[in-house]
């Protein structure tokens, strides 16, 4: 059963018989344009080198109230995580397995109970966790965003249900802009994209009451990004 398919499509085709005039200028192509994203140069400037882009990511994180930390080594990331666990009184940390996540999980203090959700999870158990640790696809310098997908980041809920989301990423995952993040996904997955892709920019927020910013509306109240070499 797919409803009124034929009738609806016929109406659309009929409606489009007369072409519409253009109200906009034919978009000007910038000097150096990419095929997939001919518009990218009109967006906010990103800076050329990796160092500049890390700096931009850090600046955007500050605006977004993301805690962003460049760790000199994986050990430093573990230390920071242990500190967060202690400061925030975490009892349970949910996570999925992966190269970066495993390395960190192995050396966390034993007092922290770990819930690995690779084989699925019980919703209430995940909700009861104090934090969720995930990997990501990429970090977007231009907007300070983390790109997660169902495949790289432990499914859909791990990065949104627990009240604190911690991302562990390597420096090589930093991309300049959204267009680059999409190019990366296309190259990696071809036609079989994960069923869920999300760009996360800061902790969950709302301005619905008097347009005053409140963090932690329904998703995480805190977002921490640990960048390892």
């Amino acid at each position: 059963m797919n409803g009124d398919r034929e009738a609806l499509l016929a109406r659309v085709t009929e409606a489009l018989r007369v072409p519409a005039p253009l109200h906009h200028e034919k978009p000007t192509k910038p000097a150096t344009h990419s095929v997939t994203a001919p518009f990218r140069e009109w967006l906010p400037p990103v800076g050329a080198g990796a160092a500049e882009q890390v700096a931009l990511f850090a600046k955007q994180s500050e605006v977004l109230r993301t805690e962003f930390l460049e760790c000199p080594s994986p050990e430093a990331a573990v230390q920071h995580l242990a500190k967060l666990a202690q400061e925030n009184g975490w009892k349970r940390l949910a996570l999925h397995s992966g190269r970066l996540a495993d390395a960190v999980a192995a050396s966390l203090p034993g007092s922290l109970e770990l819930l690995c959700i690779d084989g699925g999870y019980e919703k209430n158990a995940l909700e009861a966790c104090d934090a969720g640790l995930t990997e990501c696809e990429s970090l977007v310098a231009q907007t300070g965003s983390v790109c997660v997908t169902a495949r790289s980041s432990g499914g859909r809920a791990l990065s949104v249900l627990p009240p604190h989301h911690v991302v562990i990423a390597s420096r090589s995952q930093l991309v300049p802009d959204l267009a680059a993040a999409y190019e990366y996904l296309a190259a990696k997955y071809g036609a079989s994209y994960p069923s869920f892709i999300s760009f996360i920019s800061g902790p969950s927020r709302t301005g619905d009451i008097e347009r005053i910013l409140v963090l932690g509306a329904h998703g995480p109240k805190k977002l921490t990004i640990l960048l390892v070499p």
Binding site: G3, L16, P44, I197, H218
Partner: protein
């Protein structure tokens, strides 16, 4: 909503009442003042906002003007990944499909994330009538649901309410303690909602974009409620208007930042998520079923008008409302429409009947602020003029025709015009006698304005006199 006999009558009564509500207007103005500052800053961060607008307009133009092709492409890609597409010509079909699904799958509780399309088809009322518990999870929508009021603004649903009012509402409906902290209030809603995400067996969402190339829909939100709604329940239904089409996934690399900039002044909204099918093999969570309901509901009527087709490019950022002097004064509810503000005034006559809704074309100062604010360059204020013209062409008003006839006859004859000019000051004296009484023929105008004084001498006479004197 209460059905009213005459939308235009209702509009005037409501607008009169809301414009007299000074504190409410001040609150709305303040909220929108903050928006203006934030937006200006973000817009200026673009290397070139004007070029970006052209590029965004071109993307939407392509999507809308080849809609049939892209709808087919979307369907093919989406169903190949296990999604189900339902084509709804009107609101009844869409409602029936979703209700049928709920019945068949034995659904008990439903959680919803923001979807203006569901307001458009009155989905909640239909679901509740059949006994389903439906909870709006977006904070603003949740507040409006408890208020039993439609959204005030399609991006900021409860921007007209003050924190005291929301606190009192929560006290009454949820039994929470009184508070004047927006943060506390948000946390009350957060706690309340958590259970619903976990218990619900159906999640209903809207959608900001349909991506043909990859068979995905994209949802933009700040709170994370849509992400939870689409992650935990075992069935996900997305109700989305057919015009939300974009050809390629990478097009979002432009449209997402522009939607955020124009909508709230953010560089990027907190969560921009693309959904391409239900849970895939090898994925550890996500719904078992994902249904996309493609809604026409008179959109093809607007599509068939090449002159105004670009009104379907709208990405519902709400910028045109935020800058509109009329919206700022009459507020969102007075429009009596699902989509408020300038864009609502343009599209509602197409969706719900030109003659019944033509009065909204007059709810504009034609200042063009909306057109200037629009990220996809919709010619909004000219479309209001087009609607005025079309309404008159379709159904002529006898007294307007009489006046124009008289005017034309007068202007054709210079001698008659001269006499009329001479008589004007006298006419004005006579007018003074009936001013403010029901006999005043232009009472609607003079009720709130002063009638301009006729000059004692016409410019023509003045010029002649001056020439004489110089000789």
């Amino acid at each position: 909503m209460i059905s009213t006999p005459e939308p235009s009558q209702q509009f005037h009564t409501d607008a009169d009442r809301t414009t007299a509500d000074d504190p409410r207007r001040a609150a709305v103005r303040k909220a929108l003042g903050n928006y203006k500052v934030a937006r200006g800053k973000t817009e200026n961060a673009f290397t070139s906002w004007p070029h970006a607008r052209d590029a965004a307009a071109a993307i939407k133009y392509e999507g809308v003007n080849h809609l049939d092709r892209y709808l087919r492409e979307f369907e093919e890609k989406f169903t190949a990944r296990g999604g189900k597409v339902f084509w709804a010509s009107n609101s009844a079909q869409a409602r029936e499909y979703i209700l049928g699904l709920a019945r068949e799958r034995g659904v008990k509780s439903i959680v919803k994330s923001k979807a203006m399309t569901s307001e458009e088809i009155h989905l909640n009322a239909a679901l509740e009538k059949e006994g389903y518990a439906v909870v709006e999870s977006d904070l603003g929508e949740f507040i409006q649901q408890l208020m039993h009021e439609p959204p005030y603004h399609f991006v900021f649903p409860c921007m007209h309410l003050k924190r005291e009012e929301i606190s009192a509402l929560f006290e009454r409906e949820l039994g929470s303690a009184k508070t004047d902290s927006p943060e506390e209030l948000t946390m009350i809603a957060r706690r309340f909602m958590r259970r619903h995400y976990i218990d619900a067996d159906m999640g209903i969402s809207g959608g900001n974009f349909i991506v043909a190339e990859t068979g995905m829909i994209s949802i933009t939100e700040n709170e994370g409620n849509a992400r939870l709604t689409t992650a935990l329940p075992k069935i996900h239904v997305a109700l989305i208007g057919i015009e939300k089409m974009v050809p390629k996934l990478a097009d979002l690399a432009l449209l997402l930042p522009m939607l955020a900039t124009a909508g709230t002044g953010q560089h990027l909204t907190c969560y921009n998520s693309m959904y391409g099918g239900p849970r895939q093999p090898g994925e550890l969570d996500g719904p078992e079923e994902f249904h996309v309901v493609l809604l026409d509901n008179h959109r093809t009527r607007l599509l068939a008008d090449p002159e105004q087709r670009d009104a379907l490019h709208c990405i519902r950022c709400g910028a045109c409302l935020n800058v509109c002097p009329i919206f700022k004064n009459i507020g969102g509810h007075a429009y009596g429409t699902t989509y408020q503000g300038p864009i609502g005034s343009v599209i509602t006559p197409h969706f719900r009947g030109l003659q019944d809704w033509k009065h909204l074309s007059g709810a504009s100062s034609l200042c063009g602020a909306c057109t200037e604010a629009c990220p996809v360059k919709i010619d909004i204020h000219h479309h209001l003029l087009h609607n005025r013209r079309n309404a008159v062409q379709e159904q002529k008003v006898w007294w307007e025709r009489l006046i124009w006839f008289g005017y034309v006859e007068l202007m054709k004859r210079p001698w008659a015009f001269k006499i009329a000019m001479r008589l004007a000051p006298l006419g004005q004296k006579m007018h003074a006698l009936v001013l403010g009484t029901p006999l005043d023929p232009v009472g609607a105008w003079t009720k709130t304005r002063e009638f301009p004084q006729a000059a004692p001498q016409s410019f023509h006479d003045y010029w002649q006199e001056r020439k004489e004197a110089r000789k």
